[in-house]
Symmetry: C2
Subunit: 295 residues, 2 copies
């Protein structure tokens, strides 16, 4: 049963990778794709799986990464203890994606969904979060609304975990964006049910994001919009390099640097004591980078 579900999850994330890439191409027909298929060795030097990294550069999506991987084999015993501690044999499969649109009226989005097995233990993790740069409240309500409907009773805690995770603690606890859902070590005791739940969530990603992107992609934007976007992308870089557990873990365990740092935005800006003009849409947006009931 477990082996069958692992294979099914691995196939599912690869199919979802294709579907998401198709959505991107439909919006950005001349987008350039750089695909790398990579293999890894495990902690003991034995074959340990690998992944498919798809890096995009386009007119609509300035840069984006849509990656899948399935890895297995021995892990560092110290790291094993930090997980569930019962085995130094790990298996993990997942999809991880980040889209940085060029137009500041279109939000950046990040999502990942993964299944992990360590020895006899297994669990799921993942989430999806939105980083908008313009105060279109209706878009934020829509994004959270899709996830609320998909998560049911789990929405409340998954939304709270997201609000608490994507936070720049060194910037007065400002959030990276307007949240979404986040969950880890998800195992309610029924593999079949958990699998259906997490697979179902991953299938909601397209519905949660692309209608917003399509609605906003042809909007005119101002130089101020872009300046605000580039500074917020700077904060995105700060979060990913200072706080994101996945990024730091990946880099510290000799993960594939290029696939990990594909999450960084193409262009960004840093300015001493930056803050947007008072009273405008960007100052309003700053108020939204804190936990708020959207759905």
């Amino acid at each position: 049963m477990l082996e069958q579900k692992k294979q099914e999850f691995s196939e599912h994330v690869k199919a979802l990778q294709d579907q998401i890439c198709d959505q991107m191409r439909a919006m950005d027909p001349n987008i350039e794709l750089n695909e790398d298929i990579w293999h890894r060795s495990d902690f003991k030097g034995d074959p340990g799986g690998g992944g498919i990294t798809r890096a995009f550069q386009g007119e609509v999506f300035e840069n984006a990464g849509v990656n899948t991987s399935e890895i297995y084999g021995s892990i560092n015993p110290d790291f094993a203890k930090k997980l569930k501690g019962d085995s130094d044999q790990l298996w993990a499969a997942g999809i991880s994606l980040i889209l940085h649109p060029r137009n500041p009226r279109v939000p950046t989005v990040h999502a990942n969904f993964r299944m992990i097995q360590q020895g006899e233990s297994f669990w799921f993790g993942g989430g999806a979060d939105l980083t908008p740069y313009y105060p279109y409240e209706e878009d934020f309500k829509y994004f959270h609304g899709v996830w609320k409907q998909a998560c049911g009773d789990d929405y409340e805690w998954m939304k709270k975990e997201c609000d608490e995770y994507f936070v720049n603690h060194h910037r007065n606890k400002e959030m990276r964006g307007i949240g979404g859902i986040f969950f880890d070590h998800y195992n309610k005791g029924d593999l079949e049910q958990d699998f259906i739940m997490v697979k179902g969530l991953s299938e909601k990603f397209i519905e949660s994001y692309f209608p917003i992107a399509k609605k906003r992609v042809n909007e005119e934007f101002t130089p101020e919009d872009e300046d605000f976007q580039l500074h917020r992308r700077g904060r995105y870089v700060e979060f990913n390099l200072l706080h994101d557990r996945g990024t730091l873990f990946g880099l510290k365990t000799n993960g594939r640097t290029d696939s990990i740092l594909i999450s960084l935005p193409g262009r960004c800006k840093f300015t001493y004591r930056y803050s947007p003009k008072e009273g405008g849409p960007h100052a309003q947006m700053m108020d939204y980078y804190h936990p708020k009931d959207w759905a």
Copy 2:
């Protein structure tokens, strides 16, 4: 004697701050200065000193920070152990600066010089390192030559420490730039002599950098030069946020975030698997981001 030297060092770094700012203004007459004088509380909430942050934005220097601080008082006992461990009373004064020129033919430079006392122990730390974007070997030889002359017998180990410190370990151990000097816990047992040595080094900073900047500032540059510079600035951000002990320590101990992250470049770029065009000056520059005898 120690108290007198502490006061003298604190006054010295403030005078040096003014001299360096004068050099910048001479090259960049319309540069904008944003000066912030800040105060801090120590670990117990008592007054704990403060600093003078000078943030610049100009035509020659796209962004720059020239900061001094003198802090004192109680520190977190866990952190005390990580230093010398003999006291939770700390005093520190220093200057820290980073200049990000707009023209990619002019190198970025960073330097800092500090004096620290913990209980009965005291020591000095500091260094200066260059991050060029164009392969002007004569400039690199000049920069290292000034420091070799200033450091004397200490140059060899100070250069080696610098080569080993400013390294992006996650990027195949590529250096941030072409090095310089770096030293910490410097105490040879004679306060008077150590003071003269480190004060003398700090006074060499202007000579080590400004002649290079003046020589290159009016050079024409190409869009390729700028693209390479912006990507190398991206690597600068990666180093500062992932590896720099000063940055991470400052942020984790609730330092003044804006003064710490003043080190980040105004604009930068990240591109999946970026590498410069083969056979050109930027590909040649890549070879120089590894330890090399320059002086």
